[in-house]
Symmetry: C2
Subunit: 430 residues, 2 copies
């Protein structure tokens, strides 16, 4: 089945907004084993829309159109859909009363301009939108079934998942259920992961499990798309593959499915009624900010301390005597973590100290990172060196610090070598 | 002149990467008064590429193709360009030696696979790429001039600006120079800004200045595209409009052109040899992290302190006695800023305290913000309430804190009402 996507709107065509709706749509379809063959972006322009609809209607079996369902004059999707389908626009009493209810619940009168949103090509099938006034609809143009969706991301998402994907699955004739299993990791690059997981798909019956990756530095998302007759069948097919991915990735898996590294850390700390203090230098608060704002973090995050100057960091943490050596060391990181934990009466303290290279930002620009985690029972630490420019070092060091904390909380070694560092990991100092 | 863009590559078509290259291309062309009429995305697939090239070649005068110039087998742009143009692929000795030099300078032998990058459709014009091995080229397909560009963003950017825009400007026949003037503001919403600036374009000769906006919450970018015979003519045409935008936006302009809010703050502090301490609650380090990592910030950012608990914040800052009232107040923010400045021996201290609403995240979720800036000569403070969900509050509060600091450093009032807050701004407490 050939699927195309048409994105509409001057804001997207002129680049005022980056087209994340398209990447969302195509990723979501991939998750269900469906793929997009062609994408077209046109502006709020009658002639362009008509041409785009006709061309896609000749080439495709299914077309998802995004945007142009709003109440204003430049929202043209229904009008042009009707022209392309060769039918007239008619008022949907059903959608009109849905909109009236929508405004009633909000205690506001419905503006007359919204009436336009209930005008649909004759014979359209309504695609429900429980979170907005834009009416989704399906209509046939040329050889293809067209699905019209709103431009507002949360309205699009809901409609795509609940209304459109089931219809596409039915059209594709594949009578199967689909599940997406996801692993989040840090420290394994995409090509390394690809090599590492070679052959795992073969642990399930042929074609049942499809492996994919999505890298968003510093993390890597590994996706298993599983097809089966039903949930039970899927679970049976997924089990050996899932187990093998966990075995091969080992300690590098930081979270699964909707979990996040930050969420795992907050949950681990909350579970043991623990509290955390974070001390940082170049990252300047980024590490603490990644977890501190989460729901539940208010009971867990004790204090964040940041300073760019090593002497100042030591003073803030309460280290006796500023270190006489120039650069950061694992020993200093340990002293800072220990002192900060003591001074703020936290159960856990994470210190991430960074020495930056000299000179302007460039691709070879690196930072040396010394980090330590202090608890009542002792201290662990590691040294690392990350190359790739100021931002790469900053984001990588924050991730490294948080992931080492996650590892420590889960009883895993914090010194395993990662793919993004330049030098070998050093063994823990104790 | 009709311009189209074709983006190629499975990674873009499957949404593995968001297509920021397209929004970059179309924005850059807009900056030069050129607009894109149509965009097509296709995968690394011979048939799709050929169809896309032929369709665009029939419709457009100029087509920019992005991606597919790499050394691997799935990079198909040159091959399909030659087929669509009806010519053969020939080796460009010029580009081959350029690549050999490129590898020589890096002390590495050129892999044989790179030779493929020097194969161009016969009769192509080379578009220089000084920062990579992908050879840009221009060739005519159908009625249109096609410009082939690399997928690597920094290679694309350089080629577009230095090689392609001048050619498009020449093709468009408009013998003018173009300049883009930008203003960055915080506190004025896009539609408010649009109303506020009504008529400013008319202060320049007709059509010489075009006004546009790009909102990226919490900031708004206001753009003036100016056309003229030369730089001097442009400056003359721009002057009255530029002046009027500054007058109408007033204190809300936080930076111009390539400046940023963070950069302005660091520069203002550095200019007076000042140092800064930042104290935060819900934002948990975000405010400090936005400025702390910048080049030069190491001399300016004294210390960052964060805690979710008000008592803990007071303790960290060194406030005597934890406030007995439950919520944050302007008075507490002032006490925290004053104490933190004193304790860390900074010339400036910014405290941003936030009381969050109870309950789950939702669009009506709000936060009450009390902030204060302490200096040797006194203290300023303000209260605000931002609505729109946890993230909206977090990002808005960080921006508000930094922008108040910028205003204070520039001798401007910190209490002007902004469009994103719920309640009226209160007058400064002294």
């Amino acid at each position: 089945m050939r699927i195309e996507v048409i994105c509409t709107g001057d804001e997207v065509l002129t680049g005022k907004i980056v087209n994340t709706n398209f990447s969302y749509i195509t990723q979501k379809l991939e998750d269900f084993g469906l793929s997009v063959a062609w994408e077209t972006t046109v502006g709020d322009d009658r002639e362009s829309l008509l041409t785009a609809f006709r061309l896609a209607g000749e080439r495709a079996d299914a077309v998802i159109v995004n945007g142009g369902l709003g109440p204003t004059v430049d929202d043209l999707s229904q009008e042009i859909a009707a022209r392309a389908a060769g039918v007239e626009l008619v008022l949907s009493e059903e959608w009109l009363s849905r909109m009236e209810e929508y405004f009633q619940r909000r205690g506001r009168p419905m503006p007359s301009s919204n009436r336009k949103q209930a005008m649909l090509p004759r014979g359209s099938e309504i695609l429900d939108n429980p979170v907005g006034t834009a009416c989704g609809f399906a209509v046939t143009i040329g050889h293809a079934r067209f699905f019209f969706t709103p431009g507002v991301p949360r309205e699009l998402r809901r409609m795509l998942e609940q209304e459109i994907v089931p219809r596409l699955m039915a059209m594709s004739g594949v009578q199967v259920a689909i599940r997406l299993k996801r692993f989040h990791s840090y420290g394994i690059g995409e090509s390394h992961a690809d090599t590492l997981l070679q052959g795992v798909e073969a642990l399930a019956p042929e074609g049942a499990v499809k492996l994919g990756f999505r890298a968003h530095y510093p993390e890597l998302e590994t996706k298993l798309t599983v097809r089966g007759a039903d949930a039970e069948d899927i679970a049976r097919k997924l089990a050996p593959v899932e187990q093998e991915v966990r075995r091969r990735f080992g300690n590098f898996i930081l979270a699964e499915d909707d979990q996040t590294l930050e969420g795992v850390i907050v949950a681990e700390l909350a579970r043991r009624n623990a509290t955390l203090t974070v001390v940082e230098t170049f990252t300047s608060g980024l590490i603490c900010a990644r977890i501190g704002h989460l729901p539940g973090a208010e009971r867990v995050v004790r204090r964040g301390l940041a300073a760019r100057d090593l002497g100042e960091v030591c003073a803030a943490a309460g280290v006796e005597g500023v270190p006489s050596t120039g650069g950061v060391s694992v020993r200093t990181a340990e002293a800072v973590a220990r002192a900060a934990r003591h001074r703020t009466a936290a159960t856990h303290a994470l210190a991430v100290l960074i020495d930056l290279d000299e000179g302007p930002d460039r691709i070879e620009f690196a930072g040396s990172i010394c980090l330590a985690i202090a608890t009542e029972s002792g201290i662990v630490s590691r040294r690392s060196r990350i190359v790739g420019g100021r931002d790469w070092v900053r984001l990588g060091a924050a991730e490294l610090g948080l992931d080492c904390l996650r590892r420590h909380l889960q009883g895993l070694p914090v010194t395993e070598r990662i793919d993004f560092e330049k030098t070998e990991g050093t063994p823990p100092s104790r």
